[in-house]
């Protein structure tokens, strides 16, 4: 079917094909046939994993109070999925505003900005829905194969979630652009997207942090309130859940709401987006900052420290990625402080989490500093050795990692000194491991690709994850005071031994 050039469908097709190209890019230089084979194998694998989970759901569904339990599961799932899609849409809209790309060309053509924006948002909805669908739809298929065909309602329910979330995300991003202005919109929007995306996790953590009496009062308020506003809100919130459960009226209503939200957002914000796009073009000039000029600092260490911190701090997108990891750790500290005095339990619960977060943070920052270097030739022509550069870079990222990890570590130490000590030792080891792996296995790329860094070398990704898991397991066992903690430590050591540089790396840069 041919669609008229410049129409919404034509633009949507263009954007979706770009999304597909982006997806293909994750497989390096693999051919399309190879990609299809890998994707099919992955789909089969996920379905195989989904089968026992589907059986587990069947037991719940067929048990006493099955429908209520299933409703609760779907409601929880929705609370994860919808904020995620909204956050993705906010991020994509903000990036489209500031990174220019093909929109610059499209908006200079005689194409309606509304159509261009609607097409972009549809692509965003598709991308973010697809990332969720990969996990959710195999479950629906497995249940349908087992005869519970009403699970197939997850398909339209999820699609509507995508349309609704993308529309809301677009509206929020544009509202933030208007409120914060082009100078601060990027940072504000990225932080807001992080908080929205992690909203459910944060709410759960905050809920856990409340006192028992407060929790009881809040639950009673939510469940028992006869106020019309509450009952309307409850009913509205349950609409997508009922749609996912296969109730026809809810499916139709939720589908219409999804489409209407996206259409209204695209129509309402099309012109605003085009104007914002023009305004944001000059907003880089707005990055005038601290005009008080302090004296230059001399020395290699300060030079790298200041440079690396400035580059991370001034990149809202990078910052949001790092924030996302940090935000999840902060409530842990709150809970631990509230439960201070508990013996070894918090250690087993939280020490491994802290270790993994530390390793992830160190892996991301080490990759940004070492592989995401913007001016490698400048460094290669400087009168310093590669070893000096690497040492200074790792030193530069050490400070923010230490600062960020100190809060949960101190909180854990407050709850249990032994657990705190174990977590400190194992987190330090995990951080050093992640930094070493990124030092030994550098893969030069643009720093913006930090979250996709492992697509270049899946082996490095695997090594990094394995090492952090072993350190985390070791931390948990060590908190119990068992000598068997040495086993994961040995395994982590073996992983590092495997990752070590075996021969001098051949590089085009003939540095000293």
């Amino acid at each position: 079917m041919s669609v008229p050039p410049g129409s919404f469908l034509w633009l949507a097709k263009h954007d979706l094909s770009l999304s597909w190209r982006g997806f293909e890019g994750l497989f390096g230089g693999a051919t399309r046939r190879k990609i299809i084979v890998i994707v099919c194998a992955a789909i089969l694998g996920v379905h195989a994993l989904a089968w026992p989970v589907a059986q587990w759901f069947a037991d719940i569904e067929n048990g006493i109070g099955g429908e209520t339990a299933l409703t609760a599961f779907f409601a929880s799932g929705l609370a994860f999925v919808l904020p995620w899609i909204v956050a993705q849409s906010m991020t994509a809209t903000t990036r489209a505003l500031f990174t220019r790309g093909d929109l610059e060309m499209i908006l200079t053509s005689p194409v309606s900005p509304r159509s261009a924006l609607a097409a972009k948002v549809v692509a965003v909805a598709f991308d973010s829905t697809a990332s969720v669908a990969v996990l959710v739809l195999p479950l629906a298929n497995a249940n349908a194969l087992a005869g519970r065909t009403h699970w197939l309602a997850l398909y339209p329910a999820l699609l509507s979630c995508g349309l609704f979330g993308a529309g809301i995300g677009l509206a929020l991003a544009m509202a933030l652009f208007s409120l914060a202005g082009p100078r601060r919109a990027r940072l504000v929007s990225q932080i807001a997207a992080t908080i929205v995306g992690g909203g459910f996790v944060l709410s759960i953590q905050a809920f856990s942090a409340m006192s028992a009496s407060t929790r009881t009062w809040l639950l009673a308020l939510l469940q028992g309130s006869e106020l019309p506003a509450f009952s309307f809100a409850r009913s509205a919130m349950l609409l997508p859940v009922r749609a996912a459960l296969g109730q026809i009226d809810a499916m139709i209503a939720w589908g219409l709401i999804g489409m209407a939200t996206l259409a209204v957002a695209a129509l309402a914000f099309g012109e605003t987006f085009a104007r914002a796009f023009v305004i944001s073009a000059g907003s880089a000039d707005a990055s005038v900052h601290d005009k008080r000029r302090r004296a230059f600092r001399s020395g290699l260490g300060p030079a790298f420290r200041i440079k690396e911190l400035r580059l991370i701090w001034r990149d809202p997108w990078l910052l949001s990625q790092i924030m996302r990891q940090v935000v999840y750790t902060l409530p842990v500290s709150v809970i631990l402080l509230r439960n201070g005095g508990v013996t070894s339990t918090p250690g087993i619960a939280f020490a491994p989490t802290i270790v993994v977060v530390g390793a992830q943070l160190a892996g991301a920052l080490a990759w940004i500093a070492l592989s995401g270097e913007d001016a490698p030739e400048l460094l290669a022509t400087a009168p310093v050795t590669r070893a000096q550069i690497n040492a200074r870079k790792i030193e530069a990222i050490g400070l923010p990692i230490a600062l960020l990890m100190s809060a949960p570590l101190l909180a854990l130490a407050y709850a249990s000194a032994w657990s705190g000590l174990c977590a400190l030792l194992f987190t330090s080891a995990a951080i050093v491991s992640a930094a070493l792996i990124n030092l030994w296995r550098q893969s030069p790329s643009h720093r913006a690709k930090v979250l996709r860094r492992h697509s270049q070398s899946k082996l490095v990704g695997l090594i990094e994850h394995l090492a952090s898991i072993f350190w985390a397991v070791g931390a948990g066992i060590a908190c119990l005071g068992s000598w068997t903690a040495l086993i994961p430590v040995a395994l982590a050591g073996a992983v590092l031994w495997f990752a070590r540089p075996r021969q001098p790396r051949l590089t085009s840069l003939a540095t000293a």
């Binding site: 880089a284 000039d285 990055s287 005038v288 900052h289 601290d290 005009k291 000029r293 004296a295 230059f296 600092r297 001399s298 020395g299 290699l300 300060p302 030079a303 790298f304 200041i306 440079k307 400035r310 580059l311 001034r314 990149d315 913007d374 001016a375 490698p376 030739e377 400048l378 460094l379 290669a380 022509t381 400087a382 009168p383 310093v384 050795t385 085009s508 840069l509 003939a510 540095t511 000293a512």
Partner: protein, 267 residues
Amino acid sequence: MTRNVVHFRTAKGAALLQNPIPAALSLRNVCKTFTQPAVADMCLEVAAGEFYALLGPNGAGKTTTLRMVAGLLRPDSGEIDVFGIDVLRRPIDAKRIVAWLPDEPMLYDKLDPLEYLEFVAGLWGVASRRAQDLSQELLETLGLWPHRHQRCESFSRGMKQKVALAGALVHEPKLLMLDEPLTGLDAATARQVKDLLAERVRKGATVILTTHILEVAERLADRIGIIQHGRLIAQGTLDELRIAGNAENASLEDLFLALTSKRERAA
């Protein structure tokens, strides 16, 4: 080997050769092969305080030659000295006195010009007070002082090129190598860059640049070298090149085309 090279000595060069000061740059039989030979048996000597322009068709080996001097590529064979320092054996000492400016500026978008210069000065170990004074002087000369608090991401290509040039000069290199420094610059910016380079040479620095803008070589360079297929096929002053080309009143463009096409036919 210099067997097939039209080789001339300038008055300035002759005077410098009598002086015991080592050449600013000396390449002896340097070879570099990628899939094909990029630089073949290159011999080149540039005297200290000279403004030397390296010309050649696309893919002739100009950038590869200079990248080897900058320490970005290792030659397959041959020797490279910078002010008597062996680049291959003592790279750090050589890099201390060399600056390299590629055709694409190497900048950090999120830093402002002053912050960039502070970082470069830190890399080269320039004392902070001196670096600060030099940075201000350079940014003022290049007309960037009013933009010193703006991040480089908002700059035009010409402004970025000027920031990168300031970075190359902030550590006061004795040898400055520039790859196509004027490409894409407007007339006013190009004039600023040319004036700054000429001033550096007057102050005793050595400048080597590659360019496709022959007028620049014609007006600024003490000597001109022409590279083709990785070999130096001719070098000297413009007058000496005219003599070599048997064309007394020819422009550099005519000479360049005549010399390179003659070699092309011979090949």
